[in-house]
């Protein structure tokens, strides 16, 4: 790889924010070097590249760092203008994608994380919140899928897809094992379910998804740590 276009991604394999950037680079066919960060032992480069948040992911392009996953995704799309384009050309359609991306990121992801990291009454409330928000999304994305269903062949992956698929999957088996119930229920939110099914079957997504038992282990690990530290 020539020095003129050196791309390094500082990430963490269980971070969905890191995952979405990794997939974005793969979908665009951009060669990159991946640096796995140990969050208990962050590299000096990470601290130098992201002094404000000290978090992954950080993309470093020709020595210049970019932090915040959605900012990174927009940067990638603006710098490498080949297909797939992550945002449509029309400004109004772009606004719609950004609106729903913001909704998924700020509302849905927050709810899901609260569900994972809490128990008892707080968790119950968070579940309620999460399902309510999923219903709003189900209604809202109808304008993105005017034919009623995402098409399976030649799916053009975009910003909203990357953000959504990195946090949610249609894998009910895992959800039932971790949460005791389906999170993405094909009967309650059929459009979201079929959309996520299409996304998670894309070859690049499939090959970068860890096996079920590893995913379950990740959820359990994150949950245990969160519950432990809330008691401390």
């Amino acid at each position: 790889m020539g020095e003129e276009n050196k791309v390094v991604l500082h990430g963490m394999w269980i971070s969905p924010y890191s995952k979405r950037v990794e997939l974005a680079l793969k979908f665009k066919g951009i060669p990159f070097e991946y640096v796995e960060e140990d969050l208990q032992n962050k590299s000096p480069q990470l601290l130098q590249y992201n002094p404000v948040h000290k978090k992954v992911p950080v993309l470093v392009h020709n020595g210049k760092p970019i932090a915040e996953s959605i900012v990174i995704l927009e940067y990638i799309d603006e710098t490498w203008k080949n297909q797939p384009r992550f945002l449509p050309q029309d400004p109004y359609k772009r606004a719609k994608v950004r609106f729903w991306t913001s909704f998924v990121q700020q509302q849905l992801c927050e709810s899901l994380l609260t569900v994972i990291k809490t128990d008892g009454e707080v968790q119950q409330k968070a579940f309620g919140n999460l399902f309510e928000k999923l219903e709003v999304l189900e209604e809202g994305i109808k304008e993105i899928f005017p034919d009623g269903n995402p098409c399976i062949g030649n799916y053009n992956i975009g910003l909203l897809d990357l953000v959504m698929l990195s946090m949610f999957s249609p894998n009910n088996k895992i959800q039932e094992e971790v949460f005791g119930m389906k999170i993405i229920d094909p009967e309650k939110t059929p459009l979201i379910f079929s959309w996520l099914t299409v996304l998670h079957q894309l070859p690049l997504v499939k090959e970068s998804t860890p096996p079920d038992d590893k995913v379950v282990a990740i959820f359990k690990f994150v949950r245990e740590n969160a519950l432990k530290s809330s008691l401390a």
Binding site: A67, E68, E78, Y92, R94, R98
Partner: protein, 225 residues
Amino acid sequence: MEEVKLFGFWPSPFSLRVIWALKLKGVDYEYIEEDLPHNKSNLLLQYNPVHKKIPVLVHGGKPIAESLVILEYIDEVWPQNPLLPKDPYERSIARFWAKFIDEKSRPMWEFFQKFGEEQEEAIKNNFEILRTIEENGLGDKKFFGGDKIGLADLVFGMAIHLLAPMEEVAGVKLIKADTFPRLHAWKKNFSEQPTIKDNFPDHNKVVEFLKIRRETSRISAHPNQ
């Protein structure tokens, strides 16, 4: 020319940043003042069914919600006096700071609505946020956008528009020339920019509005006092 409407609320920093963007670009628009929080218009609820909040921009009958989404839309449709630079890397820096300030400014009101020890804690948090912005965000630039006002400047505008009146009401000064010299200079430069100067809610009106808010917070926090 398709018609532009903005649904807003006069003390809201989210509403104000959109007004500034439209004014900076010389875009004509109709402004609709919403009677918040209890009397939202049917149009607002129809245009923003997801969040039911202002600001909402309606362009040619098509609604856009979420202030940062609106700002990017405005910049794309009316490219004169750009809010974002052309270079993708510079754009990513601007977006990073716009997002940071937007997210961190929300808990910044906390110091204003808290009392006693809780207020001290909130003030400490604010200092840290401001320090990060001072040292990493602004650097030696006149504005976050460089020589001209940009996206992050419009978002940080709440520092003058709300933070300064809040400081007055709460009796606490956060952005001082000696503690945050760059931010202090920024405030002066930003508020003197002609378009901003001409489109600023009256300071005393905001102070009155905030006094009521603070009193409401105090009553709900200490109902028996």
